[in-house]
Amino acid sequence: MRIIFSALLLLLAVSNTFSQRYMAEQGVISFFSDAPVEDISATNRNVTSIFTAATGGIAFSVPVRDFEFEKKLMKEHFNDKYMESDRFPRSTFSGTITGFSMTASGPQRVRAQGKLTIHGIVKEIDVPGSFEVKDGAIHMKTRFTVRLADYGIRIPQLLWENISEEIQITVDLTYNPK
């Protein structure tokens, strides 16, 4: 009896440590396109992400419609012409974080590897980022570059809004234990 009891207790402890999930809601992803005529930037404050400390497993879901631009017309073009958000409403990432420690203090350099899906096209990516555990919450940040052509996003030649071939993506999230 006592053995079973301690086993259950152990199980509970194990499950707490190993299946600990962290959720980030209203995370921020922004992108920046550097162009000669007009820099274009947009921010999405409705990013949801989940992180499993045991395995480093991580997933992001980004509602494409929630990118806000300085000009509303740009938002419409972004959704209607480039991202085709009626067909591909979400951009996602699913993969793993490596090189982190839940017990270390201060910012850590980590890597994220996995599948990035934008505009319905899946690509393997491997990007560096920063990871910090503070007061039970995890802060994650990364900045990387995406080539539009890799994701089948074509820029019509007629367009006068100059858009660069590569855009810079910045991710900033705070995870809390779930």
Binding site: F18, T48, A59, P63, K71, S94
Partner: protein, 298 residues
């Protein structure tokens, strides 16, 4: 032994669980969103008449419309390019749904003003809705003093229009609009015309490329008197969108760029070759940077 198995088994379960698609779990957390359908039409006009589109809150559109003479007026008139009717207009989005516009047309030296309100919006997702409904109320005043218009009183120079525009974007490649229209003119020749003309506007957009689409528009007059000399307005156009600009190249049998003129006073016959080449060019400026909320409010 059994304990060991149990513990091992539970470990395995956790790892399997962790490897399971986290994305699926995320989607459950997020739930389903409501997505408003964007850009049923690229411009605020289909060809001559309005589309369901209004300007986003804080955006100002400058629209220059031209209709040249008829193509069948021959080489002497350079197929109509010697003659021109012009309308200059401004439309401003007070909110994402409510727009206000003013314009001045060289035809009858008319001024016009209108309010446009997107009452219902097509959407997909959690709160899906099948079509967009925009209401339009406009008024026109002609200042022309020559010919038959000489000595008209102020009230005789006024006319009004009310329109309900229903449109659905069936796919990214095809949109269709049905728009019943009522035009009231204070003064008309009672022998030939009615004061209150009812017309049914039909308009369609078919995408050719991501930036170019083909437009068709037809306004059928439903209650005009027998023997009136006017015709239904027909238009065919190519719509080219380049960022902040929309260029519409049109072929139509009317020089009207406001409801009263194209619906009630189109004097030429499309099928006789009385076709005017023309264009609408728009430029949109974002005036207020704090784009107003596009949520459930007005």
């Amino acid at each position: 032994m059994r304990l060991l198995v149990t513990v091992l088994f539970s470990f395995m379960t956790f790892f399997v669980f962790a490897q399971e698609d986290l994305l699926e779990e995320l989607e459950k957390v997020q739930g389903e969103q409501t997505d408003l359908t964007l850009q049923t039409f690229k411009g605020t006009r289909v060809i001559n008449g309005h589309s369901v589109e209004t300007k986003p809150g804080g955006a100002l559109e400058f629209i220059i419309s031209h209709r040249f003479g008829t193509l069948n007026s021959g080489s002497y008139n350079l197929w109509g390019l010697d003659a021109s009717t012009i309308r200059l207009g401004l439309e401003y989005g007070l909110t994402d749904r409510l727009g206000i516009g003013v314009g001045r047309s060289s035809y009858d030296k008319s001024y016009d003003g209108y309010l446009k309100y997107k009452l219902l919006r097509q959407a997909t997702g959690a709160e899906a809705f099948p079509f967009t409904l925009t209401l339009l109320a406009s008024t026109q005043y002609k200042t022309n003093k020559s010919g038959a218009d000489e000595g008209l009183s102020s009230s005789d120079r006024m006319s009004y229009a009310l329109q309900a525009l229903f449109a659905r974007k069936f796919s990214s490649g095809f949109s269709f609009q049905v728009a019943p229209l009522l035009v009231h003119r204070n003064a008309v020749d009672q022998e030939l015309f009615v004061n209150d003309l009812i017309a049914l506007g039909l308009g369609g957009r078919a995408r050719i490329t991501r930036s170019v689409s083909l437009h068709l528009e037809y306004y059928a007059r439903l209650n005009e008197k027998e023997g009136n000399p006017n015709h239904d307005a027909i238009g065919v156009g190519i719509d080219i969108e380049t960022g902040g600009h929309v260029f519409q190249l049109v072929f139509t049998n009317t020089v009207g760029m406001m409801e009263r003129i194209f619906a009630a006073e189109t004097t030429e016959d499309f099928f006789d070759g009385d076709i005017h080449f023309g264009f609408n060019i728009t430029r949109t400026f974002q005036l207020s940077k704090k784009a107003r909320e596009s949520g459930k409010n007005w």
